[in-house]
């Protein structure tokens, strides 16, 4: 059991990544009751775009730390554009025709297309991402933590906090929340709810892309595990409740820690299983999530 603190520490950073991606699911679900089934691919694309920008900057003589910081805003913009494309091609029409199978299939299709394009551009193998921080681990007693893992936690929290602040403080953010509350009534206030939904998709993919560049330095960048990652993040979104803001952090931590434990005590081959089983169990027995409220059905 002496490894327990180490396993928990390692689980926290990966858990925060799940939390950010899950947060992205929440954003679109709140405004439109739809989700991007290609959210994992959005993360992978973010990581790969970040890799290209960073390596290009480094090749032009810019230090790795500065290159990384310069890359972030570019990736954020790229993520927003990618999300806007998903909304325009995959979701808008289906919302109009109220076709649930339509947007599910369409966002899956877009995920496949993005993945395939990424494979052709960046190749199938995962790419080593230059780390902006020293890779030597810091030791706290018996626990060893990479500086980048700390950066992940800070970056993830900062991202979620920034979006939450935007939603609570700015009038445009309030318009987003109003659309989530009651789309028709928001329209009566002069809020273009279609635009808000598109915007929520842009934010959602932006969050995923950001998670992609946060995690890439400690893992790698690549699309091969994108789908599973998106699925596990969905598990986190469900555990946290699709409508409950900070539940995703708790959900992410639960999953991240369970995963490192499974990898250690059973086998790394099984490390994806607990997240998926958790998804099955939570959806089956408490679909509104551990932190969500049950909804009243209207007849």
């Amino acid at each position: 059991m002496q490894y327990l603190p180490q396993l928990i520490a390692s689980g926290i950073s990966i858990g925060m990544i799940y939390a950010v991606v899950a947060f992205g699911y929440q954003l679109t679900f709140a405004t439109s009751k739809t989700l991007n089934f290609g959210q994992g691919e959005a993360l992978a694309l973010g990581g790969l775009t970040g890799w290209s920008v960073t390596t290009w900057l480094i090749a032009h003589g810019i230090g790795v730390g500065v290159a990384y910081l310069l890359m972030i805003p570019i990736v954020l913009i790229f993520g927003m554009l990618q999300g806007a494309v998903v909304e325009r091609l995959g979701v808008r029409q289906a919302i109009k025709t109220k076709s649930e199978a339509g947007w599910i299939m369409a966002t899956i299709a877009l995920g496949i297309i993005f993945k395939n394009l990424a494979e052709n551009i960046w190749g199938r193998d995962a790419l080593k991402f230059p780390s902006p921080l020293p890779e030597a681990a810091l030791t706290f007693g018996s626990v060893r933590i990479q500086p980048m893992e700390i950066a992940i936690v800070i970056g993830a929290l900062a991202m979620m906090l920034a979006v939450e602040l935007f939603n609570r403080r700015s009038i445009f953010g309030k318009a987003v929340v109003a659309t989530a509350n009651d789309r028709d009534a928001a329209g009566l206030m002069g809020i273009n709810t279609g635009l808000v939904i598109a915007f929520s998709y842009a934010l959602s993919s932006m969050a995923a892309a950001f998670a992609g560049v946060l995690v890439a330095p400690i893992t790698t960048a690549g699309v091969s595990s994108a789908a599973v990652l998106g699925l596990k993040a969905f598990a986190v979104a469900i555990i946290g409740g699709l409508s409950s803001g900070l539940g995703v952090i708790v959900g992410g931590l639960i999953l991240g820690i369970t995963e490192t434990m499974t990898g250690y005590f059973i086998s790394t081959g099984y490390k994806d299983v607990p997240g998926l089983v958790l998804l099955l169990l939570v959806l089956s027995f408490k679909p509104s999530g551990l932190f969500g409220k049950a909804t009243i059905k209207k007849v």
Partner: protein, 668 residues
């Protein structure tokens, strides 16, 4: 002999002759694969087309079937035929294991759950190479290495029938072809019977309106599980065939991409048909060949571009304002052609092309190829489509509608609601309401919007579980029971915003209400036993008489969604009557009706009461309430503020204050 039987015989003859014309082992194998995939897609269509749920886990169920066959052969030496029994059973068991918890959720949730299931199964197949010290480190699945099998030779026909004098490998392939297509035909037969039966109607009913299904005694959950498990069994069966057809299976085959391919096949071919999924499977299986040959792909992309240009131009000539709608697909098709010219190899973009195809199908072919063809034909020759799809209503449409003799003595209490309390957060939608409904009467329930009338209906039919109080129907407490259980006890209802099964015909809508009269189960339906036939006959006669009771007999084979609004309300009442109810709840039946429609409605409600069925009526049209109700209860803010004969309620100052605004009082 009907055209249909003739076509079937010709089709089967062609299938029998096929292997003697196709000499290439490669194409032989391709055809067998199409047959196998068709079994999966036909089964998937039961879930996707009929119940409307998206499953992204069918590749895993297919894989479970394949691995059942593989493990039986490799580890236990059990051969082909037994594995055809074990594979569907094991896959069905896994399907049940998934369905029991997962089918409480729907839509995107279910899609994600099935996706998770698929991923777990793939991981397990990869990892179960060592079951641990307790099981002697047993290697169950061989992991990524995969399992090899040998295609069986069923009967050595060489030397007996000259036609079969062929090399042994080819004979194996030909025999396997016969087995696979034979099983496919059987699958088509079983699914045909299933979807035409009361079980198939239950699938469609729960898709079109889950709430109405539950309230008609057709448990949404139960039938979704039935559909999913059936579908899983077909996937498992196909999996076993696949294992022997390929003679080698490995975990990577049964991934996410394959599930998407199955879904693409069903959507592209056309849901809710037998031809569609088979056609879709054929396209999906043949597609890689198409993509392997860049020149062929260029030609096809060119053809598509030309067709898109021509049809785009044609639709512009008809309607000039359609520019935006037409422009996008045309531009996309042209872009596809340009892409096909610029690329030197296409195989790397295989998945992207699947993705584009899915998008295209979702937007421009939502009913699939078969659906689009049907539509095209029905504009030219409507009678062809109609007679092929729908079975005529049989039996005496003139039979008088006979309600069951009610067990309740007229005038005694049928329904006794005691202190019903319904709380949503801080809001008391029903605040300790008592309601005493006498048998054989029409009991009116009125009050302003939001006063709790509809909440009361939902409590009575089990859609809401009351926070407190009792709902006694002839002494039995219904509070806490589920909607289908309450329906089975004789409580039927209509809905404020009509909840018909839109894609079912009128008679099929009523037949869903008659679901409780069917005694035949799944296997009896599949085998078409006399009991199953008798059930269907009896129910159809009853349904026809109910339709004539509500005056809709001549529209029996119309789809419900094509009915005018007023007739939809009448159909809803007819469907509720099919439940043989003791108590019928009508929720604003006159809303949105024109004056003549209302007159017809009033007469029908009176006739229903005269047949001994007790009615609770929520209505805003005061003239309707006053003219037909025996007793009226008034709710306001979830509380009962008045009750009694219509005239006395109408004169009650509290009622005038809260609701009538003096209108009715002046009218008397």
């Amino acid at each position: 002999m009907s055209n249909k039987t003739l076509l079937t015989i010709i089709g089967i003859a062609l299938l029998v002759a096929l292997p003697f014309f196709v000499k290439s082992p490669y194409y032989m194998h391709l055809i067998v694969t199409i047959a196998i995939f068709s079994i999966v897609t036909l089964g998937l269509d039961v879930v996707f087309g009929y119940t409307g749920e998206v499953s992204i886990g069918h590749s895993a169920l297919f894989g479970i079937g394949a691995y059942t066959a593989g493990i039986l052969a490799m580890k236990l030496g059990i051969g082909f035929w037994p594995s055809l029994v074990f594979a569907p059973v094991i896959a069905a068991l896994f399907g049940l294991l998934l369905a029991l918890p997962a089918l409480r959720v729907t839509g995107p949730y279910l899609a994600m759950v099935t996706l998770a299931f698929g991923t777990i199964v793939q991981i397990l197949i990869n990892e179960m190479t060592d079951l641990g010290p307790w099981l002697d480190h047993f290697n169950l699945t061989e992991g990524p290495l995969g399992i090899k099998l040998v295609k069986p030779l069923f009967i050595d026909l060489r030397g007996t029938v000259p036609l079969f004098d062929m090399p042994i490998l080819r004979l194996k392939e030909v025999e396997f072809y016969f087995v696979a297509t034979g099983i496919l035909l059987l699958a088509i037969l079983v699914i045909n019977r299933l979807v035409a039966s009361h079980i198939g109607r239950a699938f469609e009913a729960l898709r079109d309106s889950p709430i109405a299904s539950d309230c008609m005694g057709v448990s949404v959950y139960k039938y979704k599980v039935v559909a999913f498990v059936t579908s899983a069994a077909f996937a498992g069966l196909a999996g076993a065939l696949f294992a022997y057809s390929e003679q080698y299976i490995a975990p990577n085959t049964f991934g996410f991409d394959l599930s998407i391919l199955f879904l693409l096949a069903v959507t592209m071919g056309g849901r809710k048909s037998r031809l569609g999924p088979v056609l879709g499977a054929a396209i999906v299986v043949y597609l890689p060949n198409l993509l392997a040959d860049i020149n062929l792909f260029r030609i096809i992309a060119g053809l598509i571009a030309v067709i898109a240009l021509v049809s785009g131009a044609a639709s512009l000539l008809r309607d000039r304002s359609a520019v935006r709608g037409v422009a996008i697909p045309v531009v996309l098709c042209l872009a596809l052609f340009a892409l096909s010219i610029s690329l030197t190899t296409i195989t790397d973009y295989k998945l992207a092309i699947y993705g584009v195809m899915i998008l295209f199908v979702v937007y421009y072919l939502p009913d699939g190829i078969v659906g689009a063809l049907k539509k095209a034909i029905s504009t030219v020759k409507p009678e062809w489509v109609r007679t092929n799809v729908r079975i005529e209503a049989t039996g005496g449409a003139g039979d008088a509608f006979v309600a069951p003799t009610s067990s309740a003595v007229s005038g005694s209490t049928l329904l006794d609601v005691k202190q019903a309390l319904m709380q949503f957060g801080g809001l008391r939608a029903l605040d300790k309401v008592d309601l005493d409904v006498k048998a054989g009467t029409i009991h009116g329930l009125i009050g302003p919007n939001g006063s709790g009338k509809s909440t009361m209906m939902n409590v009575l039919t089990g859609i809401y579980v009351p926070t407190g109080g009792e709902v006694l129907l002839q002494g039995e407490n219904l509070a806490g029971k589920k909607s289908p259980e309450i329906a089975a006890r004789g409580v039927a209802r209509t809905f404020q915003n009509v909840q018909l099964f839109g894609e079912l015909t009128l008679i099929e809508n009523v037949l869903v209400g008659l679901h409780h009269t069917y005694k035949a189960g799944f296997f009896q339906v599949a085998l078409k036993t006399p009991l199953a036939n008798a059930n269907e006959q009896g129910a159809r006669q009853r349904a026809a008489s109910i339709l004539s009771f509500v005056g809709l007999a001549e529209l029996a084979n119309e789809e419900a969604r094509n009915l005018p609004y007023g007739k939809q309300r009448l159909l809803e009442i007819g469907r509720a009557l099919a439940l043989d109810p003791k108590l019928l709840l009508l929720d604003e039946p006159a809303a949105g009706l024109t004056a003549p429609d209302i007159k017809e409605l009033v007469q029908i409600v009176r006739k229903i009461r005269d047949h001994g069925i007790t009615v609770i009526l929520i209505e805003h049209h005061m003239d309707v309430v006053m003219s037909i109700c025996d007793t009226v209860t008034v709710l306001d803010f979830g509380q009962k503020i008045a009750e009694g004969k219509p005239a006395s309620v109408q004169a009650n100052p509290r009622v005038i204050e809260a609701y009538l605004g003096g209108a009715a009082a002046a009218a008397v």
